[in-house]
């Protein structure tokens, strides 16, 4: 048992994590005919809290309560993993990525997110503006405009052989490459790294 817990505490390889994530697709379908998708929860949050008579948010969000519970579960899963299953060792980041990021000014490579950026003390700075406020806005606006995110399009959509989902995924990746290679260096300089 202790060995098992020890093993669980190690970071899981991709060939364990990927298939488990993939199994969410049939799990949700078999439990109750639900298509895997996460960004829709943000829309349900708008529909439930701030619909403001916008037609896009006029639908029966209570019918989609399962989706809200699913993301609450993800939150709790994160909490449980950090309390009981967390890996005490530092996160392993590819050597080349560390070098690239160090050149951009990142100094902390110990945890899942760099403390240089993701801390409360940065909230009311340019770092907070770009990485929390603008970044979050782009994620929410973009996923809704695209009609899905990595889960709804890349995993659920492609699994169901939907070419629009493949197209969306290609553009998720293009957006990510453009940000990482062309825009991020300027943002890092601008926010004071």
């Amino acid at each position: 048992m202790e060995q098992l817990i020890e093993w669980i505490k190690q970071p899981w390889p991709w060939y364990v994590a990927g298939p488990l994530i993939g199994l969410t697709v049939p799990a949700l379908l078999l439990i109750g005919n639900k298509s895997f998708g996460i960004s829709s929860s943000l829309r349900h949050a708008c529909a439930a809290c701030i619909p403001a008579k916008i037609p896009f948010f006029q639908y029966d969000w209570k019918k989609e309560l399962w989706n809200i519970l699913f993301v609450v579960g993800i939150f709790l899963g994160g909490l449980i993993a950090s309390l009981f299953l967390s890996n005490p060792a530092a996160v392993v980041v590819a050597e080349s990525t560390q070098q690239d990021l160090a050149q951009l000014g990142i100094t902390d490579f110990n945890s899942l997110l760099p403390a240089d950026i993701f801390s409360w003390s940065n909230l009311f700075t340019l770092k907070g503006l770009f990485f929390f406020v603008i970044g979050g806005f782009l994620v929410g606006f973009g996923t809704r405009y695209a009609g899905g995110c990595t889960s709804g399009h890349a995993i659920m959509g492609i699994s169901n052989l939907q070419w629009p989902s493949m197209l969306a995924t290609v553009f998720f990746m293009i957006g990510g490459f453009v940000m990482t290679h062309l825009i991020l260096p300027f943002i890092m300089a601008l926010v004071g790294f």
């Binding site: 899981w12 991709w14 060939y15 990927g18 994530i21 993939g22 078999l30 439990i31 109750g32 005919n33 639900k34 298509s35 960004s39 829709s40 708008c46 916008i54 639908y59 029966d60 989609e64 399962w66 699913f70 609450v72 993800i74 709790l76 899963g77 909490l79 993993a81 950090s82 899942l112 997110l113 950026i117 929390f132 406020v133 970044g135 979050g136 806005f137 782009l138 994620v139 929410g140 606006f141 996923t143 809704r144 405009y145 709804g152 399009h153 659920m156 492609i158 699994s159 169901n160 939907q162 070419w163 629009p164 995924t169 553009f171 998720f172 293009i174 957006g175 490459f177 940000m179 290679h181």
Partner: protein, 162 residues
């Protein structure tokens, strides 16, 4: 009550529509919470909620995220094929239905915009929830901003090319 009449039978372009015919309440809904918990644990344990993993991916310096997403798609694809081929039903006996995705310009423009945000925040919507649960409480700000972005899209959706 005037608003109620405008409610469509199914929310348009909702990518995770509820295809279940029977209503679910109480403990039946808890099953989704449990799936979410397991999913969240996998997210953390595979470190896919890490900003660094996303950077590795977009810098093509690690196979990790490609392995995760690729094998997830493979398992999802095989599962859906099996469900379709054998006409598998839900636990309550309903035939399984999956809505198709129609092409819209949003998948290109919105997809690109999401990609920009993905590389900045190091998270798609799912990992945001897991990051907050893991203890990065400041990500609540990112999440609220993502909800604001969703709202702004909803507000102007009829004026955007689609």
């Amino acid at each position: 009550m005037e608003v109620r009449e405008k409610i469509p039978a199914n929310p348009v372009e909702c990518e995770a529509p509820n295809m279940g015919k029977s209503g679910e309440s109480g403990w039946k809904l808890l099953r989704y919470l449990i799936v979410g918990v397991l999913f969240g644990i996998v997210f953390v344990k595979a470190e896919v909620i890490s900003w660094f993993r996303i950077q590795e991916m977009f810098r093509l310096q690690s196979f990790f995220m490609y392995g995760v997403i690729g094998s997830a798609i493979l398992v999802g694809m095989v599962s859906i094929q099996l469900i379709k081929r054998f006409g598998v039903k839900t636990v309550s006996g309903e035939p399984i239905k999956i809505a198709g995705k129609e092409f819209r310009k949003g998948q290109v423009i919105g997809g690109f915009i999401f990609g920009l945000g993905w590389a900045l925040t190091g998270a798609c919507p799912g990992p945001l929830f897991a990051q907050i649960g893991f203890g990065y409480s400041v990500i609540v700000v990112t999440l609220l901003s993502a909800i604001a972005g969703t709202w702004v899209y909803g507000k102007f959706s009829d004026k955007l090319p689609n």
